[in-house]
Amino acid sequence: MTLTAAEIEIIALSLKVAVTAVAFSLPLGVGAAWLLARRRFPGRALLSGLIHLPLVLPPVVTGYVLLALFGRNGPVGAWLEPLGVVFAFDWTGAALAAGVMGFPLMVRSVHLAFDMADPGLERAAATLGASPLVRFLTITLPLALPGVIAGAVLAFAKALGEFGATITFVSSIPGETRTLPLAIYGLTQVPGGEAAALRLVLISTAVSISALVASEVLARRASARRGRP
């Protein structure tokens, strides 16, 4: 099966969107998960609720909220535009939508990993002269690494498959915001598009399975480094 130029463009765009989404949400997700796992502060329940909202809202609603906030006339969008950051009807908007939708999955996975890391080890590190930041970097994060990897892969898979929020927020513009699922949907809506849609379905499946295998390999390596099977 040889890929057409149009198919390569779609795959490249989808990967760009998904990688960007994960790259930007990972540090935020790790930070939020650490706050939820290790700190008790006012507004903790609110933060948790806000993070998990995209999981329970219809994706179209999330897309609508993003449009209202980050559109050219939205409060955040209007503020960012003079800085050169534009989300509306741009691939960056697709990445934002994908990132927001994958965020709760990532945070849940990392949160669980932090919960599993024994706080007693952090106390031990503290008595050995490690400040809170150093403890996080040398003890907590390495111990939680398999969970962080799993969270990143989940978010990546979610980003690759994200449909509802993306189409609501940034529409389906070829070469700009038309990722794999949007392209597949588009093809099923035109007569005679079934064969092309099937090709994209197979490609999409292949990409997702590759990501899953890659994550498995990474997680095993991380576990081996911790000395556990």
């Binding site: 050995l128 002269g129 400040s131 003890i139 911790r226």
Partner: protein
Amino acid sequence: MIEVQAELTRGDFRFQADFVAQSGVSVLFGRSGSGKTTAADLIAGLLRPTKGRIVLNGEVVCDTQARLDLPPWRRRIGYVFQDARLFPHLNVRDNLLYGARRRGVQSPPIDEVVGLLGLEGRLMQRPDALSGGEARRVAIGRALLGDPGVLILDEPLSGLDGARRAEILPYLDRLARSGPPILYITHAVDEAARLADEVLLAVEGRVFNAGRPELAFARPEAAQAAGLGAPISVVEGRAMADGAGSVAAVDLGGALFHTPRLDVAAGDRVRIVIDARDVALALQPPADASFQNRLAVRVEAVEPWADGQLVRLRGEGFGLTSLVTAQAVQALGLTPGRPVVALVKATATARYA
């Protein structure tokens, strides 16, 4: 030197400590729940006192009045936890060097510590490949290499079987001679008697310095802290060879004390622990009796204890406590100053080299 004056209230638990521990090995002795670990956590900075002041080797690390409370990573302490708490993602070498790297210790003496603790050949292993005894030793080495001004050992032998304890004790002995001041937490009389230069007693949330072990264990609070039925006597002396050539006697500095065979070299200092219930008293050395130890002593004091009387005795170079009935005190006329003979079966002693 460790100076602690601290109070802490948590729910129903009231903790109060007021003690100074000089250099050497200070054994913090008491039952579980008596506040031992609380005291250690306060010194390490893992707990904050409600009120108080803590000074380590002259440096004030906590003073609630001055609103000063250095966090643990700014205190020069080493803390060996009951569970070794090795970092599972680091090998033994990186575990050992963790504290040294954080504190920027220049060329930490890792070879020396590895030799002291017998960890040769283990450096590249992961913690989960170590035995329980090895893990404890790595934890001790890790704390030592952080160059601590005070080393806290929280029950370093608990949960280990006899063989593993025997494996670690010699290392602790060496450490006690060459290392930083040690706060050694335990509820085991044998460890306390063997290692202590002085004894801090923890009794129901109150921690105080009870002095040298021979004095500390004679106190009623020590028996309470240990959950013992009666106080114990700790006597110290030099191991001696008996006529048959085996080391089975201790020179208490004048008097000779017979014991079962000792696993030490002649000339080594040993401590002997004697339960007050195992000390009988007579006015004359009895003929035809099996007591191997017949020690000339004088009655110092008589105190009530539970349903009996504690008779404090002093001999040449040692003190001893005997628990007898009130009738015995009456019949023998035991009053301060009275010379008597203390009778102790050789087999009734526990000895710790």
